[in-house]
Amino acid sequence: MRKILPILFLLSKFAAAQTAPDIEKKLADLDKAVKSAQSAGDNAWMLMSAALVLMMTGPGLALFYAGLVRRKNVLGTMMHSFILMAVVTVLWAVIGYSMTFGDWNSFVGGGQYAFLHGVGAAPNPDYAPTIPQQTFMVYQLMFAIITPALISGAFAERMKFSAMLLFTILWALIVYFPMAHMVWGKGGLLNASLGGKIPTFDFAGGTVVHITSGISALICALYLGRRKGYRMDPMRPHSLVLSTVGACLLWVGWFGFNAGSALAASSLATSAFVATHFGAATAALAWMAAEWMDTGKPSVLGAISGAVAGLVAITPASGFVKPFPAMLIGVAAGVACYFMVSRVKHALGYDDSLDAFGVHGIGGTLGALLTGIFATKEVNDVLNGKALGWVDGNAGQVLNQLAGCLIAWTLAAAATWAILKVCDTVIGVRVDAQDEIEGLDLSMHGEEGYNFEA
């Protein structure tokens, strides 16, 4: 025994000496494999989400809006959404992504990612540490596409196509990229988790997407004036079938919009998915109920508009609230937006053709404020244990949310007015009276949507 022990000791020493680097290497390999597995899962979900968000613009929004206009403007209206899928994409590659997610000041990003310089397979640890920055970039692009497309609901049936293109480019540069930087960019003024001075919670773009587009829509409606024959000629939606299909695609696409904003295939994504769905459901019911009591009939247009209003309102809250608060937010949005578009709009007399302001401006603002009430660290501990919203005991958050809304309202309103002035001077924003009567399909695009005799 005495002789064997030292030999065993030596042997064990020898074995340890042999395997220690092996184990380290194995651990490192394992670590790498785990990271790569997580990245694969997250990347799959984020690419899927990017595609879902693009689906919201075309076909979702394109169909939703197209059904609401008269037959003679169906193509022009779809073109507003469709062409932005191309225009904003180019703009995003050239400077948009950099202005939004580059470093510079608290209002706008710098030029470090111009022409997508340095945006490749390596993750950007500030924003999404587990997916290629290129995935993050293309996902965020889809948001930049749908936001100006939402505005087109306000100037539908009467804006010159060329003016609409110029307007959109300027609007993205002056309103969207800076606003998105303020809320989501590192060091942005309103960024809660990355060092903003006024921390606000906007999970998936209530302020960035819906308030900016909604307020800009109102300004567009006021600037362009009413459609010819407004309140005199019949302007019934030409196909609520198209609108219903569009609304359903929006609902499904919104899972990419909200749950994708978790930027990972995580339990937070699940939570946002659930909140989104529940908010949409109660909003559809709330709008339907309000209308049923008000007019005596539950319309299909009402139900689908309610769902969209709920999806808008739940957007900023989706990653911060539990399912039941999400349902409450949906109810509030359904009722508020119903009265906005069916009463207040008519009382004030402006012609927001497809209610981009009534649904996105009002629903977005309501959602942003209610996020301040219902956001809880139990869902998303974004401030490392500190209270988020009123339900956590931080009532002051509602004021921060209000400040965020006011900044978005002011920037969107002032910039939109100025941009419209420029476009009006350079090109003229409104089509000729004759072109408007003929319809934008023929006068702008030289086509018709429905050639039944062909």
Partner: protein
């Protein structure tokens, strides 16, 4: 020859067609039209905007028959198209100067 124009409820078209076939009237022209008489339209509401829709979809059916058969055809039309409610439509009868079959130049009642 008489041309009989009947403006009827769209959902009555099949019944009317069958009834006319039943008395041997095979040829007819159908037009989808819109109009209104004493039947008032209905109200539609889209996001709080009310529209009075008073031009309602109707079917206009045209047949040209020998004058001697006009009363029989009119009677058949009335029986098949009537529901007894406002909006059942109207029948107008015209004299026809000439009928010509394009294929072989048949004239008059032979062309019907």
């Amino acid at each position: 020859m008489k041309k009989i124009e009947a403006i009827i409820q769209p959902h009555k078209l099949e019944e009317v067609k069958e009834a006319l076939k039943g008395i041997g009237i095979d040829g007819m022209t159908i037009l989808e039209v819109r109009g209104h008489g004493r039947q008032k339209g209905h109200k539609e509401i889209y996001r709080g905007m009310e529209y009075q829709v008073d031009l309602l979809p109707k079917i206009k059916l045209e047949v040209v028959v020998p004058a001697t058969r006009a009363d029989e055809v009119i009677h058949t039309l009335i029986t098949a198209a009537r529901t007894g409610k406002l909006g059942d439509g109207k029948i107008f009868v015209f004299d026809v100067a000439e009928a010509i079959r394009i294929r072989n130049d048949d004239r008059g009642e032979a062309a019907l």
